[in-house]
Subunit: 343 residues, 2 copies
């Protein structure tokens, strides 16, 4: 395992090239058959004999392929790397968003700044660049972000329908995907959108085709601005994959703002991914490594949290956790909070 | 494993930072004791609480560390990453020589050129830059190259002493490390050195302090030059970790040159690393991934060979394989060849 990790970055590229140049595909078409010679794969993929051989041999050690009598076969691991959407999205995210930036991990950890972000653009945080990032980073970022929330939103919108609120404030609405899901299912819902200006413009463009009874209302706010005040009067305050973008102190400050504007009986719904509340080790691993994306690329001081750390921040803000639901969709946890009357 | 590979490059940097910033060391000092809190490690390593936490949590998924009651412990894997010299050298080689270049793997495979080499310097092949490469790439390259040959040289020099030749031609002498080992043990040996000019200068500087009966003779030659002719009259023609730097066609051409200059009774000793002749899977894996360094960085058309492929090249040159000895030192294979009289 030590050597696997030591050569991890080289292996990473070998795998991506085998995937994108059709080597895994050629082998997949031949699954449970006789195996393929280097020459056959070379012709099918338009790569030289040498190129095909070094890739296949790298794949042997990584156990993406196996060989008998000079003929190559795909392993289950190789098959998943080819066909599993989550795996594809994670590889693309690492390659297009994180790979170059990751060399700046030490600098990012030392300074508390996302020292690797300069590989993508001239912003202080990635959030300022989300609507302006170059391709393929732009697509890979959003595919990564959406893939996970897409699994939770259908479940959550039904839960919301059962709750039957008249209004919802979506803090950190980003592309407006959640608001879109809500308005499709609950066209009478009155929605407020909070985010930085460029994201709001994009979200509204996304939502305009929908026929909502009340058009969504935009609140361009930087939640880190001490002077920023949230609108009040909403039944549900919604934050999905939002608070993980902030440091501990910032999360407390944001939750204090949320608490201030909370009307009696209103609920705060926080949808998050916690590495310590995953059913599968691979999911915990993925979230733990994703934390380093936040360090290097996003803003230098946030992460995918340990839920114990996160719950302490909620308590510190004065909000009361009324329920915790794990495995929403597959990987998310819903935390429902209310204003504590006892504090 | 798919997710481990997908986040491999990010994990790689987390590991290196944990090693170089003293986190693994702090945990190693506490081995078989009570474990350490994030706060303790943070203070000891001069990293923020946040920085320490994201690294340790990344280490959990990678199984470098484990945690109980909020206290962190080092695993056996973490201990080896800290203390095993080979592992350290492999990590440094990947980081300093290969990491940036590896993004050019697809380009290198398509063109047959070392497309990633431009990240280190303006050379056509890495061999032109070996004496001029910037640090830390320079040290990491040589540490990597020497670490493996250093294990084989003491065994080989005894084998050479038993053979008692009067002369040896070292083709691809590089820094002169093998010649140095020979002359220390066998001061009467007449040595010829073949390499590119800059490497020869460095080798001679390295050998000058030694009191050899006959000073080593230099032959500045590019073995790929069709007009280049090797000197004749040497008893042993020595090529260590040299032929893996060439393509199949080039290896045949070089071996043909060697055969031409071979005096009656002379022997060709080829010391190489073959991934299919390793005792340990980790060694095979390492060699298979190292092939991609040859693709991206070295010259775009060479690799750590499958011995079956390599033996065919020797036969194609008209040389006869008289013996093959595996596990020389730990990882090398010695191939002894002679001029075939029957061909």
């Amino acid at each position: 395992m030590a050597q696997m990790l030591a050569f991890g970055p080289i292996a990473f590229h070998a795998i991506v090239v085998m995937r994108d140049r059709g080597i895994l595909e050629a082998l997949a078409k031949n699954r449970r058959k006789n195996g393929l010679a280097i020459e056959t794969i070379s012709e099918e993929c338009g790569l030289s004999h040498y190129a095909t051989r070094v890739l296949l041999e790298a794949g042997l050690g990584l156990k993406l392929v196996w060989r008998r009598d000079g003929l190559y076969h795909l392993t289950k691991l190789g098959y998943f790397i080819l066909t599993d959407e989550m795996t594809r999205i994670n590889f693309d995210f690492t390659r297009d968003v994180c790979y170059d930036a990751a060399t700046q991990l030490d600098a990012a950890l030392s300074t508390g700044k996302p020292a690797g972000l300069k590989t993508l653009g001239p912003w202080d945080t990635v959030y300022q660049g989300l609507s302006a990032m170059p391709e393929p980073a732009m697509s890979s970022w959003h595919n990564f972000d959406h893939f996970y929330s897409d699994q939770a939103f259908p479940v959550m919108v039904e839960k919301l329908a059962a709750e039957n609120p008249s209004s919802l404030l979506d803090i950190g609405c980003n592309t407006g995907k959640w608001a879109y899901t809500c308005l499709q299912r609950l066209p009478d819902l009155r929605i407020g959108l909070v985010d930085l200006e460029p994201q709001l413009e994009r979200a509204i463009a996304h939502l305009t085709p929908l026929e909502a009874t009340t058009p969504p209302k935009c609140y361009p706010l930087d939640m880190l601005d001490p002077m920023a005040r949230l609108p009040d009067g909403y039944d549900i305050i919604w934050m999905s994959q939002f608070l993980d973008c902030f440091s501990e102190q910032e999360i407390i400050a944001i939750l204090c703002k949320v608490k201030e504007g909370l009307k009696p009986g209103a609920k705060v719904w926080i949808l998050e991914l916690f590495w310590d509340r995953q059913r599968f080790e691979a999911a915990a691993l993925s979230l733990q490594q994703t934390s380093l994306y936040f360090t290097c690329v996003a803003n230098g001081n946030s992460q995918m949290y340990d839920s114990e750390v996160f719950f302490d921040l909620i308590r510190a803000s004065g909000l009361t956790i009324s329920s915790v639901t794990d495995n929403v969709g597959q990987y998310h946890t819903l935390i429902e909070c209310t204003a504590s009357t006892s504090l």
